[in-house]
Symmetry: C2
Subunit: 339 residues, 2 copies
DNA sequence: CTGTTAGCGCATTCAC
DNA sequence: GTGAATGCGCTAACAG
């Protein structure tokens, strides 16, 4: 463990060591031109030597800004927050902005608690990340800082929300299957209480209708798990052996379907095409064959959320409403045979 | 988006509204006894009404402490940081400590950059999270705040490092297989340049030797992937059909082995027991059968790291050296048939 | 070009 | 009990 005792060196330490006033030292370090080049160099050398790091809090007191953003999540265990966080970090980038990460664990009390903490710390803005695409309760309109909702939209249309476009994703998936020459397409998805499940189905239905096709069998809803994918896949392929493609509501479900297809001697993709959702690389790249999937571009979503927070902080741009974010298709071997 | 314009209300606002001085307001809100109960109540009511949140920066300026901790990770995409972060958050808990999350993306330059930022923000301590258990370069001994290394230890023994005990994990895994009556045990693992791979093997060898057994075939090293698990499993089972158990260096590898075992008509666990490593629930709980695995208790590791940072901050306790953290066995159907 | 002064928001003496 | 004064570390406006 490093030495936790030595007091942090302050600007006045540097000034004293350099034999100048505090304000001169400040100017030198902030590269103002109203200071002699020689003293500037000297002060900087001293600062370097003393490994001086300016106290951002003190600076923030003056500026009224802290250069911090709060990320309030209820999905620390899940996988959606991570890419969003990465995108946000990218956007904040070298902009000297740091992120406070708070995990509410899906608990409203804890969320309120963390919200107060973030406001106490005078974050310049807040990004709220949910774990489903269903609307969540708004933090309210009376906060002193801008708020952007990511993945899970706010239930208040006055808020800005960025959500992946699940309808477009469903459409994209089925259009791809049709483009691959498939016509007898079925759908297995997760919990129907999730708008994600319903929206993806809606998109799929649109694509089918546009092509003059009908879905084979009823869409099957239950859990977002491999187990369900296996069970549903087995039922479906037994009841409707003519099926030549299955659109799955998640990569986990798709993995289950791939698994059971092998048991039933259905060759993927020749005999049966399978497409997943989320493009969870751990699952999609390691299956046999690789799993074609829909990617929600979460990193880009996070980046955009950060940009919106920024815009609201220093500009006056005040967007509002739910903005569906584009998704993309990632093709692997489960829909097109690689040669 | 919420109103980003309304200036945050300050203590002087509250004082003015309550018709008292700033210092009295301060005392009232901090529950000091040298203030009349009536005024105390009044000030608090006003503060509540104005939704006053104290500016932690200003307070921190005085106190010399910020109540923040930096989490410097190089594993934002990976899975190790998340449970560690959760454990740390638990430990910090209601302690009014917040976490700055910085992702260095495995880049030393970026890490240095983030380190400076954290020091600028006067974090009270830093937790460094790596993505492998191999030693990483120390941040140095001259930092003004305590540092604890989690998962990846520091290469400087003067630092405190918490790493999962991979040797114990390897031993535990093989002891379990032996307890299940297995005697012809093989090993498939990942990249041998990882100390995790070597340590787990060492532990396994110990357990075998203690039981008077020898490993079947050579340990197989390559990647931490399902693909490798399938390939290695196929080779192994073909060359050594007598194998009755495989200890895998990761859950991904184990999933591959389970997959190929099914292809080769080996019944798990009756005919072949399989054990993984990491207890990645996504993989372990959804396989057929469920995957027995070694869990590194990362959440507890994170909690402990936070506790050590705390101890160093306000106590004088200054631990040092690499502390191996206990692991545990999670039994599922891949080693013991569930009835 | 440099130094002095003031003040960001708050907690803490110390007078009254 | 209460309030005026001081200072945390820093930057901005001025005066020299």
């Amino acid at each position: 463990m490093t030495d936790g005792t030595s007091r942090a060196v302050t600007l006045s330490d540097v000034a004293e060591a350099a034999g100048v006033s505090i304000s001169t030292a400040s100017k030198a370090l902030n590269d103002r031109n109203d200071v002699a080049a020689s003293t500037k160099a000297r002060v900087r050398a001293i600062a370097e030597q003393l490994s001086f790091t300016p106290n951002v809090m003190a600076r923030g007191l003056l500026a009224g800004r802290t250069g911090t953003v709060g990320l309030l999540t209820s999905d620390l265990e899940g996988r959606f927050m991570i890419p969003i966080l990465m995108g946000a970090e990218d956007a904040f980038g070298e902009g000297r902005v740091n992120v406070f990460l708070c995990d509410a664990r899906g608990d409203a009390i804890r969320e309120q608690h963390h919200l107060r903490e973030l406001l106490s710390r005078r974050v310049d803005g807040i990004i709220v990340v949910g774990r489903q695409t269903d609307p969540r309760r708004s933090l309210g309109q009376s906060l002193p800082v801008p708020v952007v909702y990511a993945y899970a939209p706010s239930d208040d249309p006055r808020d800005v929300s960025l959500t992946p476009d699940n309808v477009a994703g469903g459409r994209l998936a089925v259009e791809h299957l049709i483009a691959c020459g498939r016509t007898r397409i079925a759908h297995i998805s997760g919990d129907p209480s999730f708008s994600a499940a319903r929206d993806r189905l809606a998109g799929a239905q649109t694509a089918l209708a546009d092509a003059g096709l009908e879905m084979v069998g009823e869409p099957m809803f239950s859990e977002w798990t491999e187990h369900w994918g296996r069970d549903a896949g087995a039922m479906l392929l037994r009841q409707h052996p003519e099926i030549d493609a299955i659109f799955c509501g998640s990569d986990q479900i798709a993995r289950g379907v791939l698994d059971i297809a092998r048991d039933l001697d259905r060759i993927v993709p020749d005999d049966l095409a399978v497409i997943g959702y989320d493009n969870w690389e751990l699952l999609a790249e390691n299956s046999r064959p690789g799993l074609t999937s829909i990617d929600a571009n979460l990193q880009q979503l996070g980046r955009r959320a950060a940009e919106l927070v920024f815009a609201a902080i220093d500009g006056n741009e005040r967007a509002a409403g739910e903005q569906p974010m584009p998704v993309r298709l990632v093709i692997r071997g489960s829909t097109i045979a690689r040669r």
